[in-house]
């Protein structure tokens, strides 16, 4: 033990830098100073920003559609959380509180755009037309994915923090190269598309993000970095990870960064549409920091009461994206009680269907899993499979258990 000796550590930040950081951090505490917000917490629409014009153009159907999506994903999320508590899912990643950030940004995308989600983008999945029950396959442990990304341009969930962001930039650079190759060959240009890379405030600390932003800036890649700052990287508050508001980081890479009220679905959609149009037109990346809040646990294996205060949670409940938008729709006369009742019933039906889907999932067979090793059949895989099937058949209870890879 004598070999291991105590050491002493000191915080050695120079005084001047502290002052500067302090000044920048003020922006955060003021919150709304540099934040695009169209709907205030009471659901009142303000024309403070040039983005207001864009939002003003949306008709009643579009507005009700945004509400419907948010309410549906909230109901689905509650059902999935219950399914985990009932032992039907190994894990669930609740999205409650971030509906506006997800629905608003998802609705801003066009079909030809490509989305790289984290593991919490259930709302975005809904806007892309992914069958929601399919999201649960991975969380039940019967699939490594669950849906075919080529059908919806909604990539499979990435569980490794920030790992999808370099992929997103690579995809965006490939879009550029496809276009220039088509131009060189005199073929018609593909429809101009952009990529959205989702990540959180926690992932923003990962090196992948830095590398991605450097490449995206250098090549003016058509990518929108969409950071949902939900204030907590599991138990670590954002202030610990960034001394300045996150969107300011974009300046250092040389592309625009802005903060949007992530609980204001109109603002999120307007800002994301703008950023995507800009990207598709060849002007390069944008960083959007959607300032929002994870109302629930990081995952069902987390207990947020251990690291944050009830007062904080309550202050964010007052900013809830769904109730805020409901107030707006009612006040503007876009929706009535009948509409909200209908959406609630639709949500219950979705929840019931998702529950049924989950309980009916079949575990994959070993044969199927082994066929995923290579894109085409491979003699070695066939040989190993044959050996293993014979091995499995050697158990006395083999007849009772169909070969399920040992389960």
């Amino acid at each position: 033990m004598a070999g291991e000796l105590p050491t002493t550590e000191f915080d050695d930040i120079p005084e001047e830098l502290l002052d500067e950081l302090e000044a920048l951090a003020q922006e955060r505490t003021e919150g709304h100073v540099n934040m695009v917000q169209l709907l205030d917490e009471e659901g009142r629409f303000h024309h403070r920003s040039h983005f207001a014009e864009r939002a003003s153009a949306w008709n009643g159907d579009e507005l009700r559609g945004l509400y419907r999506d948010m309410a549906m994903i909230r109901r689905f999320d509650a059902e999935a959380t219950a399914l985990q508590r009932q032992g039907q899912l190994s894990l669930w990643v609740p999205v409650r509180g971030q509906e506006a950030a997800q629905i608003g940004s998802g609705r801003a995308t066009l079909p030809q755009d490509y989305i790289f989600p984290t593991y919490r983008e259930h709302g975005v999945a809904l806007t892309r037309g992914v069958e929601l029950g399919e999201l649960l396959r991975q969380f039940r442990g019967v699939s490594n994915g669950g849906w075919d990304p080529t059908e919806t341009n909604f990539h499979l969930y990435t569980l490794v923090l920030a790992a999808q962001v370099p992929h997103a930039v690579g995809y965006a650079m490939a879009l550029q190269r496809d276009a220039s190759r088509a131009a060189g060959a005199g073929r018609p240009l593909p429809e101009s598309a952009a990529v959205v890379a989702y990540f959180g405030d926690g992932a923003s600390s990962e090196g992948d993000i830095h590398e991605s932003m450097v490449f995206a800036a250098s090549f003016k890649a058509p990518v929108v970095f969409f950071c949902q700052n939900n204030q907590w990287a599991i138990s670590v508050p954002t202030q610990v990870q960034s001394r300045i508001p996150l969107h300011n980081r974009a300046k250092g890479y040389g592309f625009p960064g802005l903060r949007v009220d992530g609980n204001d679905v109109l603002a999120v959609r307007a800002v994301t549409e703008w950023a995507l149009e800009r990207a598709r037109s060849g002007k390069g990346p944008v960083l959007i920091e959607a300032y929002t809040y994870r109302q629930g646990a990081h995952t069902t294996a987390d207990d947020p009461t251990k690291y944050r205060l009830t007062a904080e949670e309550e202050s964010w409940l007052a900013k809830d994206p769904v109730t805020r938008f409901e107030k707006f729709l009612r006040a503007e006369g876009h929706a009535d009680d009948a509409f909200f009742a209908e959406v609630a019933a639709e949500g219950d039906a979705l929840a019931a269907k998702s529950r049924k889907d989950v309980l009916a999932f079949e575990p994959p067979s070993l044969a199927e899993e082994m066929q995923n090793v290579y894109s085409e059949r491979h003699p070695l895989v066939d040989e190993e499979l044959a050996w293993h099937l014979q091995y499995e058949a050697g158990f006395a209870d083999a007849d009772a258990n169909a070969v399920e890879g040992g389960h």
Partner: protein, 516 residues
């Protein structure tokens, strides 16, 4: 109408048990899907369990405030017509799920999921009854007594780890389970070339030759024990040969040693006072507190944290003017002639005083095969971090709690002199229970000290200098210092560390409190 049973799910990732805190339903109640049935507490959190079924509660199968294994049935729900006046009383949990049922069955619990986890499919070997060490050294995956189980999210239900029976059992005479891999190979087609299926991975090691074993056995004429266990035995003055061994190949485990120690301890009545006299054997001066439940989980989480060591540090500004006056008086007193007196002396005394009032800071975190323990030390071996020609050393003053102020001053001087001369012995640095580091001596205001391994608390002493201070509404110059403390969060929570530091600070502000 069928009875629907809800088994306790794993609501976290890899949890194995939970306590039912409160039932929210009773037999006869009608429930719908997702109605809350009960509240459970796991090592991670307090959560509500929603009902997976619709119908009438028939029976509560698990009592409140008892630890239930994941997978055990907790409630029966049937259609309304099924409702029978069933007793709500506690029902025994399923025997297959109780840990005791598996205890003797190390061998059957060997992994039997080769296809999904080929790399961990080495056959585990039942430790032989004999202690001759003649058995083939087959690698073991787990510590003896540690139940294997899912470590991460394991699907809707935790798989029971059982060995599946084979169609053809070819039992060689005297074969142990270690040979099972070989048996399986015989009954099977050739393994495909270019692959190494895990199920065969154990075979080469299992085939160690008897000659080699004998050679090993000849070398190992002494009792088997790992070096840390030997060290503890030496420190406790226990002859390892006296300790009944339960480990693999007759190895004396730490658990064996500790249970032997506990047995010896029982013969002597516990002393009523906290500080135990130095003349008693040290094993009687360590109080063993088993580490369970949330404490256990908190501890593991703290250790596993990739970002930080489980330190929590707190700081307090102290008006040490009275301490400075006291030190000046001591310097002038005849009693302390030729003895160097510094504020560190008062701090040392304050730490000892405060530790007795908050005993958990004077303890050690000990991991044993049967679980973690906190050893609360009823004696103070006060470590003093000292800059020496050999680098930073932390010799300690043994049984500092017994020393008078003068003796403590002498001990501090001796310790410093010895350390500066580079003559500190290894024994002087062992067995410390709490450390003080005087970074103020280097003109530093305060820093975050790092806990000396084997302890759970360290106090850092910043420089003392005159600063403007508000006393009774007026700003006047006072001698101010800052105390910093770091605590092992596995053992010492925030409130306790705060109380301890407040006690230390109180003495520095008013040394006269030491008199009471």
């Amino acid at each position: 109408m069928s009875k629907q049973i809800f088994n306790l799910p794993d609501v976290g990732e890899g949890l194995t048990e939970a306590d039912i805190v409160a039932w929210k339903v009773k037999p006869g109640d009608t429930v719908a899907i997702n109605d809350v049935l009960c509240e459970i507490e796991t090592a991670k959190s307090l959560v509500e369990l929603p009902s997976p079924f619709e119908g009438t509660v028939l029976e509560l199968l698990a009592p409140e405030h008892e630890t239930i294994e994941v997978g055990s049935p907790i409630i029966a729900i049937g259609a309304a017509t099924d409702a029978a006046p069933a007793a709500p009383g506690p029902a025994p949990v399923s025997p297959s799920a109780s840990p005791e049922a598996n205890d003797g069955g190390r061998a059957p619990s060997a992994p039997a999921v080769p296809s999904s986890a080929p790399s961990v499919a080495l056959p585990s070997v039942q430790p032989p009854a004999g202690a001759d060490g003649a058995n083939a050294p087959v690698p073991q995956m787990h510590e003896p007594g540690v139940e294997s189980g899912p470590l991460v999210g394991s699907g809707p239900k935790a798989d029971a780890v059982k060995r599946r029976p084979r169609r053809q059992q070819i039992t060689a005479p005297g074969s142990s389970l270690g040979d099972s891999a070989a048996q399986q190979s015989e009954a099977q087609p050739a393994v495909p070339s270019g692959t190494a299926m895990g199920i065969n991975g154990g075979a080469p090691q299992a085939a160690a030759t008897p000659e080699a074993d004998n050679a090993v056995a000849r070398l190992l004429t002494r009792v088997l024990a790992k070096p840390p266990v030997r060290r503890i035995a030496k420190e406790l003055g226990i002859n390892l040969a006296d300790v009944p061994a339960t480990g693999a190949r007759g190895e004396v485990t730490r658990a064996d040693l500790e249970s032997y120690q506990v047995q010896r301890e029982r013969e002597i009545a516990a002393a009523p006072k906290f500080w135990e006299p130095a003349k008693k054997p040290s094993d009687q001066r360590i109080e063993v507190v088993p580490v369970r439940g949330v404490r256990k989980a908190t501890a593991k989480a703290m250790v596993d944290s990739a970002f930080t060591a489980p330190h929590v540090s707190i700081f307090v500004d102290v008006d040490a003017s009275r301490t400075m006056e006291f030190v000046q008086r001591l310097k002038k007193s005849r009693e302390f002639e030729n003895i160097k007196v510094s504020p560190l002396l008062i701090l040392a005394k304050a730490v000892i005083w405060a530790a007795a009032r908050n005993p958990s800071v004077n303890s050690e975190w000990v991991s044993t095969p049967k679980g973690d323990e906190i050893h609360v030390k009823h004696f103070m071996n006060l470590g003093i971090a000292a800059a020496t020609p050999r680098g930073l050393l932390v010799p300690n003053i043994k049984n500092a709690q017994d020393l008078s102020l003068k003796d403590l001053a002498v001990a501090l001087n001796d310790l410093a002199t010895t350390a500066r001369a580079g003559k500190t012995k290894a024994a002087d640095m062992q067995g410390g229970t709490l450390t003080v580091t005087n970074i103020g001596a280097l003109g530093i205001d305060i820093g975050t000290p790092i806990i000396n391994p084997g302890e759970v608390a360290i106090v850092a002493f910043g420089t003392i200098k005159q600063k403007p201070w508000v006393v009774s509404g007026e700003v006047i110059p006072r001698w101010i210092t800052t105390l910093g403390g770091s605590f092992d969060h596995r053992v010492v929570d925030g409130d306790l560390s705060a109380r301890f530091m407040a006690d230390v600070a109180a003495i520095m502000e008013e040394p006269a409190l030491l008199l009471d």
